[in-house]
Amino acid sequence: MSWLGKYAFDILLAYGLTALLIGGLILQSVLAARAARRQLEERGE
């Protein structure tokens, strides 16, 4: 990672945390969507 220079840690931290947050959001959205759809299907729709 030396090509990122002396800020490598900051950059990776920023990208990492962002990936975590947005990834988490997407994951939560998808899981919630799937759960809602499954629950509806269980009730015959």
């Binding site: 090509w3 990122l4 220079g5 002396k6 800020y7 490598a8 900051d10 950059i11 931290l13 920023a14 990208y15 945390l17 962002t18 947050l21 947005i22 988490g24 959001l25 997407i26 959205s29 998808v30 919630a32 969507a33 809602a36 759809r37 629950q39 509806l40 009730r43 729709e45």
Partner: protein, 242 residues
């Protein structure tokens, strides 16, 4: 057929189901292009070194954090005036996205602040008003989840959104008045770097577009979930009141 037809839940489910894959595709494509381009194929900035790469997430997320609130405002108004249920649910769906985007903008900004300003946190007006925006999102989400009856919750959160917008703008102004701050002046000004502007700009614009599509995709997905949940709520209500 007027646009309001889509506010019928069933129509909306059909229409959103059809466009959703394309929006997701575009979002992933644009985000990937912009971020990869920005991360791997941009040069070092002469003052900020490679830390300039943070801009590719900081600016789009900040942009969305603000505009998600305006989308919620518009959706709330539509609900209050025309009483389209999907509109209220779309506002509800957008709030957590706005919340996360605000958090991302805050965190990336804070991390960027360390190399640039030598401190993680600075009570700069822009930063401060972002923190306050975060609180507004929190309050909005908390109010939604505190109220059991869905239409009532939609009404109350819409009123809160209206009043909150006015006060958020006021707070922004107040924060500026209170502290002149670092954000614009001391940080890079894109204008000052006309020479390399394109190099940084093009991937930034692509990522920005990608984030916008990501936002739309997420709003669609979450609104669909909210509609299904609302339907589940109606079913369980019918069962409980049977």
């Amino acid at each position: 057929m007027s646009i309001w037809e889509y506010a019928n839940p069933r129509r909306f489910m059909a229409a959103s189901g059809a466009v959703q894959p394309y929006v997701w595709g575009l979002a992933i494509l644009l985000c990937a292009t912009g971020l990869i381009w920005g991360f791997f194929f941009t040069p070092e900035d002469f003052r900020m070194g490679h830390s300039v790469k943070i801009i590719y997430i900081h600016v789009p997320s900040a942009f969305l954090a603000i505009n998600a609130w305006f989308m919620m405002l518009v959706a709330s108004l539509i609900w209050l005036i025309r009483r389209h249920h999907v509109s209220a649910l779309a506002a509800r769906a957008a709030a957590p996205i706005g919340l996360i985007m605000t958090a991302v903008a805050l965190i990336t900004g804070a991390i960027w602040g360390k190399p640039m300003w030598g401190t993680y946190w600075e009570w700069d007006p822009r930063l401060t008003s972002f923190l306050i925006l975060f609180l507004f999102y929190l309050g909005y989400v908390a109010l939604w989840s505190a109220i059991e009856q869905q239409d009532q919750a939609a009404d109350l959160t819409s009123i809160l959104c209206l009043v909150g917008t006015v006060f958020a703008v006021l707070s922004r102004y107040a924060a500026q008045f209170w502290n002149q701050g670092l954000h614009q002046g001391a940080s890079l000004s894109l204008d000052a770097e006309e020479n390399v502007a394109d190099v940084f700009w093009i991937p930034l614009v692509i990522t920005l577009a990608g984030f916008v599509f990501l936002f739309v995709a997420l709003v669609l997905l979450r609104t669909r979930t909210e509609i299904r949940r609302r339907r589940l709520h109606a079913i369980s209500l019918k069962e409980r009141l049977a």
